[in-house]
């Protein structure tokens, strides 16, 4: 199940960032995922609590920002949106395009708690 593997890798990166910044715990995580990364946002959400259990990020919320696919045409130079299975220029319909967005699988933001929550 590769979304679980991806979540475990994500938690590894989050814990590294958290430790480097002296975090007591992680409150929120934001990631950017494009359709061409090969991971599915819904499945990531499902796998996330399993991967986060017992880590600094156990109670962190996960926000997934979906990055739409964009291509730049090598022929006419236009930058347009595209479907993952139709990577052609939206302006002139040529198939010789470079993907400029939509492949992302990135950790973009980590919100940490640097002091323990007050005891009550």
């Amino acid at each position: 199940m590769h979304e679980l593997s991806v979540c475990q890798a994500l938690i590894g990166q989050v814990e590294r960032v958290a430790r480097e910044n002296g975090a007591h715990s992680v409150v929120a995580i934001t990631i950017a995922v494009g359709p061409l990364s090969g991971v599915e946002a819904g499945l990531l959400e499902h796998a996330y609590p399993v991967a986060a259990a017992g880590t600094l990020a156990e109670h962190a919320t996960l926000t997934i920002e979906t990055v739409p696919v964009r291509v730049r045409c090598r022929r006419c130079g236009a930058e347009t949106g595209a479907q993952p299975n139709r990577l052609v220029c939206g302006s002139c319909d040529d198939w010789q395009v470079d993907v400029i967005a939509g492949e992302e699988m990135l950790l973009t933001r980590v919100e940490i708690e640097t002091e323990p929550a007050p005891v009550h």
Binding site: H2, L4, A23, G38, N85, E104, R109, P118
Partner: protein
């Protein structure tokens, strides 16, 4: 059960609610980072690539659906090469040594990775398997990934080239259905063309069109592992890639598949597209 890869994760419609933030937070701080989520896998993959390059070995990642003919292609390739290139194979499957046994029967070393329920190989699994691969004696290492058109595309293993197989019985629209996988290929093989006479629904021109539509810009070879011009073209491609890898190694350079997941990191950092 997962619709894509048969694992135990439920479909998206049944997703669980996300974990809630604690209601009484202490002092919080937001850290902006741009980090590849699979950065650790990428690090191990780069390490694998160094191993291959140290020994001048060309590493190829073979990906396709189950039953597209990866192992049959390798058997036929090893027999046709007849020792002219020194080959070893890493086999990835959920279970059994069957494929490794078939490769060993052709007289070359094979290491089987059984992933349990994991639907793809990752760089660490390949690194562990490399301990049992005689890299110093090789020209080519084939890594036959788990038969799956979804998950393997996201994980760099340290290979120099990705080769995908699309077999005639699967249908000519497979690239449109699984764009991420087929786009990741440097070489796309349309296999089992000996069945074209029986499976008349499969149109080669439609398969080529589907590959173009998903932005595949590599080379395509139509072949049957039973022989013919296409099979000869595949062997010629292999020979060229082995020679290119030797030249790169001599210059202290390496190569990566043309489409890499980390391309995303470069985009976010404001660089141009990675080719």
């Amino acid at each position: 059960m997962c619709r894509d890869c048969g694992c135990s994760l439920g479909p998206a419609a049944q997703r669980a609610p996300l974990a809630a933030a604690p209601s009484v937070p202490g002092r919080t701080e937001t850290i902006e980072v741009i980090t590849a989520i699979l950065g650790e896998n990428d690090r191990v993959a780069a390490h694998n690539r160094e191993h291959f390059d140290q020994h001048g070995v060309l590493a190829l990642n073979l990906m396709s659906s189950p039953g597209a003919g990866k192992t049959s292609l390798l058997e036929a390739t090893i027999r046709a090469l007849d020792g002219r290139l020194k080959v070893a194979v890493i086999e990835g499957d959920l279970a059994t040594e069957n494929d490794a046994d078939r490769i060993r029967a052709c007289g070359v070393p094979a290491v089987q990775i059984t992933t349990g329920n994991a639907c793809h190989l990752d760089a660490q699994m390949v690194h562990d398997a490399l301990q049992r691969v005689p890299l110093a004696d090789l020209d080519v290492l084939f890594i036959e990934n788990v038969g799956n058109l979804v998950c393997p595309a996201s994980f760099d293993l340290g290979q120099h080239r990705n080769v995908t197989l699309l077999s005639v019985p699967e249908g000519d629209d497979k690239p449109a259905k699984y764009p991420v996988m087929f786009r990741a290929a440097d070489l796309s093989l349309i296999t089992k063309t000996d069945l074209l006479a029986y499976i008349t629904e499969f149109k080669l021109e439609r398969a080529h069109a589907a590959l173009r539509q998903i932005g595949f810009q590599g080379e395509t070879i139509e072949l049957s592992h039973r022989g013919g011009d296409g099979f000869a073209a595949w062997l010629a491609w292999l020979g060229r890639e082995v020679a290119a890898q030797r030249e790169r190694t001599a210059r202290g350079e390496t190569a990566r598949p043309s489409i890499q997941p980390e391309g995303a990191a470069a985009h976010a950092a404001g660089h141009g597209p990675v080719r």
